[in-house]
Amino acid sequence: MRDLFVEIYESIRRNKLRTVLTGFAVAWGIFMLIVLLGAGNGLINSFGQASGSFASNTIAVYPGRTSEPYDGLQSGRRITLQDQDMALTLGPSFAAYVDDITPTVGTSVTVVRGRKSASGYLEGNYPSRLDVEKIKLRYGRFINENDLKENRKVVVIPERLGENLLPEGRDVKTLMGERLKLNGIMYRVVGITASDLMSSDNLMFAPFTTVKKVYNKGNDIDDFTFSFHGLDTEEANEEFEKTYRAAINLRHRASPTDNGALWLENRFTQNLQMSKARRVLNIALWIIGLFTLLGGIVGVSNIMLITVKERTHEFGIRKAIGASPASITKLIIAESVAITAIFGYIGMIAGLAACEVLDKTLGNRTMDVMGEQIAVLIDPTVGVNVALEATLLLIIAGTIAGLTPALKAARVRPIEALRAE
């Protein structure tokens, strides 16, 4: 073993510049691979955070307009959802899948506090909405059962909207328990939601029953969301959506296949697609990284070929005094692996350092994209396992790079090698 290292050291020492130049290509390849994977992870993590704020097995149902004439009615007719649609959803036809349902009904309002005002949308909701939408409360509480039962005039407002109603510098917390005037009707603030990337800055919540009664909504509702179980594949979900859509559409005298009449937002399939997209992104990054690395490997392979050619005479001497072909092969491959491993390691360390820098500078920093705060990269780093995989990859890469030159060196007949100069 020691002899092998001495040989490799000698050989590298004799070709310093050449070795460093090729080594750089390998280092660059691994560097790019690590940085790409790190950045990719950051991107994936920020997707994850965005989509992670919804319960994963719900379907939101929104009304639309019919897109085809049916049952003697024109297309383009506006659909309004009603209590009966909820009853149908909870009814026997879908009982096998549907668990829970929360409707919303809402109206645009102007919020007034003293001389300040803001416009917003007041949504009547059920307590379960908190979990379904993964709403984050900063202060106070969400709508509760008693609010609903007693049709209380209570409201949960977003942090940002609260700030707009207060004089500069006053803590939104002081709004808790205060009364605000919403379209002339007084509501008491019972909770304040955190404003983050996915929340709306002007969406307020009140009890469903209150909104329905105060604003005279009758049977009409805006939309509803139900949770379900037992639909594990994309196909099963599609099948379910088809039957479900047909049932609701028919109740509104719309074609059962009219996709415009009803909007179904299935978070479960969205998540499925998201994780698929994540996998694809990950694979794409590996492929790009590997191709970059491949450049380095080709470089090393080339340099080893030149080395072998230059050392042909020496190998001839070695063979004449008893070197087996295997020992020559070993020599070349070991040198190739050594070069790849050393420089790959340098590249890897640099790559990990670059990921750290990314994390410190861009990590968790948000960017304003069309009025929404989007985190650019969240934790753009690679794990220990990736570093280990990369190490293994380097050894394999070095072996592959050395293989052709090594076999070439081992194959050349001693007499020909001795003649070479």
Partner: protein, 240 residues
């Protein structure tokens, strides 16, 4: 009989085929000191390379120490070269980036001898050849004679039964040539090593005990030369 060639033929298939060895028959006993002479291009090196299993022959038989040398794998051939045969070349063929002692050690490395042991042995051999002080020098820091003595030390270190030397004095002046030939003669006398020297210098051939002439691809005259009087210049001198 350590070496026996029966009707060995060798053709080089170059631009046009060249039949170099046309049925060589030759026997060499253990402990002989033989020279092979012949005109340039007569096939001396070709023959020696076949004897050293560095090259293949086409037809015939080559028996080395009772074993037919035919269709050996590279590994087997390497093993034979390592244990049975020591080579001395005209151009020394030392490895330039290794010191004298490292060059001498190398055959032992391929036998798997531990580092310390092979170093000690190599130093011993260099000492025997009067090169102890040059052990740490690289080949390009040594004279031709010194280099050839290092090469001989390397050939001897595995204690081979045969030494094959292709024009070992070709790159040396007459005085150094005499020293090298004296060294080979001594090895032959004291250690009973079989030595075959290819040369076209009659003075060199005269140092050996038997002179084999090769001509037109076959063995011609074989001179007994126990008295070392084959050269017109007489024994003990090599004219350059």
């Amino acid at each position: 009989m350590i070496i026996e060639l029966k009707d060995v033929n060798k053709t080089y298939f170059g631009a046009q085929p060249l039949h170099v060895l046309k049925g060589i028959n030759l026997s060499i006993e253990e402990g002989e000191f033989v020279s092979i002479m012949g005109a340039s291009g007569s096939g001396k090196s070709t023959l020696l390379n076949i004897l050293g299993i560095l090259d293949n022959y086409d037809t015939g038989e080559y028996w080395l120490a009772g074993k037919l040398i035919k269709d050996l794998t590279e590994k087997q051939a390497a093993d034979y070269r390592n244990r049975m045969i020591g080579f001395v070349f005209q151009s020394f063929n030392l490895i330039g980036f290794k010191t004298a002692v490292e060059n001498v050690e190398l055959p032992l490395f391929y036998q798997g001898v531990p580092r310390r042991k092979r170093h000690t042995m190599a130093m011993e051999f260099l000492d025997r050849l009067g090169l102890k002080d040059w052990a740490g020098h690289y080949p390009n820091e040594m004279s031709g004679g010194q280099k050839q003595r290092v090469a001989i030390a390397r050939a001897l270190i595995t204690n081979p039964r045969i030494i094959l030397a292709d024009e070992p004095t070709g790159a040396l002046d007459s005085k150094t040539s005499e020293e090298v030939m004296a060294l080979l003669a001594e090895l032959n006398r004291e250690e009973k090593v079989t030595i075959i020297v290819v040369t076209h210098e009659s003075g060199v051939a005269n140092c050996t005990n038997k002179i084999v002439h090769i001509k037109d691809g076959v063995i011609g005259e074989i001179e007994e030369n126990q008295l070392h009087n084959a050269s017109v210049l007489g024994a003990g001198s090599i004219m350059k």
